[in-house]
């Protein structure tokens, strides 16, 4: 019986050691991390609120993470910075408000850590999400046309409608209007920006 107890105890200790070493201790180290308050009173990073928070939920439920990362590797390791995916490497402080984290492990598509700086246009995002072939021919990204309302009569176009390029007009659909979820997703993408120069990113 004591041998059985030793076996169980040993098995338990192996996993307890890695919980301590990999989760508890690093998390304790991260407790000291605080956001930066800029001279103009703005905070970086800031919690996701309003449309961006809803949009983060859409990003998660559509499973964007399976093809897109949100982490830039350091200069000289891979070509993340040279590809223009960021100006510096990502650091733990960039993710203070990420719950759940969306770092990702796959780049079937490009990294999105700072997509807001590369693609600041909401219209570009709308067209790209509606049908990726419009903006990125040959992409294997699925179309998220169900996040948009198709508009057929140009006379009833609202101010937030996005005009389709001539080649993409089909079945009389000339404009698209993002649904609430589509607009929220675009708002979230327009917030993904890691350009704030944290000093630790240069270490």
């Amino acid at each position: 019986m004591s041998r059985t107890l030793m076996l169980i105890l040993g098995i338990f200790l192996t996993i307890a050691s890695s919980v301590t070493g990999l989760i508890i201790i690093p998390n304790w180290q991260f407790q000291a991390l605080k956001p930066v308050i800029k001279p103009d009173g703005q905070q970086y990073p800031a919690p996701y609120v309003g449309e961006a928070a809803i949009g983060r939920g859409v990003y998660i439920d559509q499973g964007c993470i399976y093809c897109h990362t949100q982490q830039v590797r350091m200069k000289g390791y891979g070509a993340d910075i040279r590809r223009g995916w960021g100006t510096r490497r990502s650091v733990p402080r960039d993710y203070l408000y990420d719950r759940p984290h969306q770092l990702g492990t796959m780049r079937t598509g490009p990294d999105l850590a700072s997509i807001a700086t590369r693609q600041p246009s909401a219209d570009w995002h709308a067209l790209h999400l509606y049908n990726p072939q419009i903006t990125s021919s040959g992409s294997v990204m699925p179309r998220f046309d169900y996040l948009f309302t198709e508009v057929k009569e140009s006379s009833r176009v609202t101010f937030d409608a996005v005009k389709l390029p001539a080649a993409a007009v089909h079945d009389g659909v000339t404009h698209i209007v993002p649904t609430d979820r589509g607009r929220a997703l675009i708002a979230f993408l327009k917030r993904l920006n890691q350009s704030f120069p944290f000093p630790e990113a240069n270490q």
Binding site: L22, P26, F30, G63, Y66, C67, Y77, R83, P100, L103
Partner: protein, 504 residues
């Protein structure tokens, strides 16, 4: 006195065989529940994987349907494969092996059957939840939190049954497979509960969550699927060829080094990520140290096989078991090397990782689960596999499909990684480069699906009562086939009808 001696000499079946038959009778109804449903989920997971795979080279396939979008069907594939197939197949294996090795009857059969139904319900609503957009967004733990109790509670039943059997065991020694099985039931609940607490219940935030996530994602394979697979190999290889395991001392070293090092390896999934370098270095060291258990276990399995390879010609169980143990060695070597920073600079974020995961899961874990079923089902059901041809189809489809898949993904992944590290190559050119390999993966998936269906037919056949009985096992060399069986069943059915007519 005289009478007693006479009774003793009377011919009777050997007591250990009697006891095995009784143990199998006690576990029969439970194991069938676990294994049958595990194969249902294997089929579902393979279909979901196939849809994901097709979508990645032909995005218009089932395009514009929200609940089937790539980002939803892809996690359904992983979760049904690991929890539906892996969880149920491994649990059935654990219960059957532990009852046999402890030489005790399987306790709480009703509780375990109810547990199986609850577990299946959990996987079902979890998968539907993801399709409806309720994924948690945590890789490997996508099931909505309201589906998790349906997975955790039945697993508690399995833990209880496992400990009860071990406490009541009639043998004096503990066989190496039993160490692994005991370890699985300690590790798996701790893994799931810790990871859920850290991620979906938000005990930690930001990058700590990423560590907890990949600590889990790596360990659910390493501390759940792998030990069960190794336990099966340790049981089946000596059993089929009738030789003891090569070295007891090596198995001891293999077990403890595996237990100590594997669970540190997970952070290599975040190499180059926004984490302190030491956390990732720990993961890489853990991965490198894994060479010790992998080489030890490899020597033990392969040295036991040495001189008995001719049995591979006949025994389906052995062929799957040896395929599994050989791929275990290869996939583990690949995995350890993959953890190195210089390797990760290229292959991280590419299809290479996907290739490696499938090499391990479909080359090592799944074949060992199949081997367990091929070995145990005829003993549990007291009837033979109907068709040798279907077993042959299953084996070759598993081997070839897995190789096509793995080679296509690993080759494409290395090239993809090298191209991504060259900023002069436009990103869309890299996407275009991978498409033929993604199509090859679909081909590999189709071959795997064919094998699964062949196995499923044979499996459904063995759990339904046959009219035809065989007195010899179904081997690769048997010419026993589906058509012959049906033919003979028809003949027998005819005879019975005539008999019936005569008696009436």
């Amino acid at each position: 006195m005289h009478a007693q001696t006479t009774t003793a000499v009377l011919p009777s079946p050997r007591p250990e065989i009697e006891s095995r038959i009784e143990i199998d009778r006690s576990s029969r109804s439970v194991i069938i529940y676990y294994w049958t449903t595990s194969l249902f989920w294997l089929t579902m997971a393979t279909l979901a994987g196939l849809i994901s795979s097709i979508k990645l080279h032909s995005p218009e396939f089932l395009g514009g349907i929200e609940w089937l979008t790539f980002g939803r069907i892809r996690p359904v594939h992983w979760d049904t494969a690991i929890y539906g197939f892996g969880g149920l197949a491994a649990s059935g294996t654990l219960l059957w092996l532990q009852a046999r090795l402890c030489q005790v009857r399987l306790p709480y059969p009703t509780l375990l059957r109810v547990g199986c139904v609850i577990f299946n319900f959990g996987v079902l609503i979890g998968a539907i939840g993801i399709l409806m957009g309720h994924s948690t967004g945590v890789e490997a733990l996508e099931f909505p939190i309201w589906a998790m109790p349906f997975l955790v509670i039945p697993y508690v039943f399995i833990v209880i049954a496992n400990f009860t059997m071990y406490a009541k065991k009639k043998t004096n020694h503990t066989y190496v497979s039993q160490w692994y099985l005991m370890a699985v039931t300690v590790w798996f609940p701790i893994l799931v509960l810790t990871a859920e607490a850290c991620t979906n219940f938000g005990a930690v935030d930001g990058v700590s969550q990423a560590i907890a996530n990949w600590w889990y994602g790596h360990n659910v394979v390493g501390l759940f699927a792998t030990p069960t697979g190794i336990a099966a190999a340790y049981y089946l290889i000596p059993k089929v060829i009738g030789k003891p395991i090569h070295s007891y001392h090596l198995s001891l070293l293999g077990f403890w080094s595996n237990a100590i090092f594997y669970n540190w390896a997970g952070t290599h999934h975040l190499t180059g990520g926004p984490l302190p370098a030491w956390t990732i270095t720990l993961g890489i060291v853990g991965s490198m140290m894994m060479f010790i258990p992998v080489i030890t276990i490899g020597i033990n399995h392969h040295m036991t096989m040495l001189g008995s390879f001719h049995h591979l010609k006949t025994s389906p169980t052995l062929r799957f078991a040896v395929m599994g143990s050989m791929v275990y060695t290869l996939a583990s070597f690949q995995g350890s090397l993959e953890a190195l920073r210089s390797h990760q600079e290229i292959t991280h974020f590419t299809h290479y990782t996907i290739g490696h995961v499938h090499f391990g899961m479909y080359g090592f874990f799944a074949p060992l689960m199949f081997a367990m079923m091929y070995y145990a089902m005829p003993r549990l059901m007291n009837q033979e596999w109907s068709s040798a041809r279907l077993i042959r189809i299953h084996f070759w489809c598993t081997l070839v499909g897995m190789l096509v898949y793995t080679l296509a993904m690993c080759f494409a992944g290395v090239r993809q990684g090298m191209m991504m590290n060259d900023p002069s190559i436009p990103f869309l050119n890299i996407v275009r480069f991978t498409i033929p390999f993604l199509a090859m993966r679909t081909l590999g998936g189709l071959i795997l699906l064919t094998g699964t269906i062949a196995f499923l037919i044979n499996f459904i056949r063995i759990i339904t009562p046959h009219r035809v009985t065989y007195d010899s096992p179904t081997l690769f060399t048997s010419d026993r086939d589906w058509d012959d069986v049906l033919e003979r069943e028809k003949e027998l059915a005819g005879t019975r009808l005539v008999d019936g007519g005569q008696t009436a």
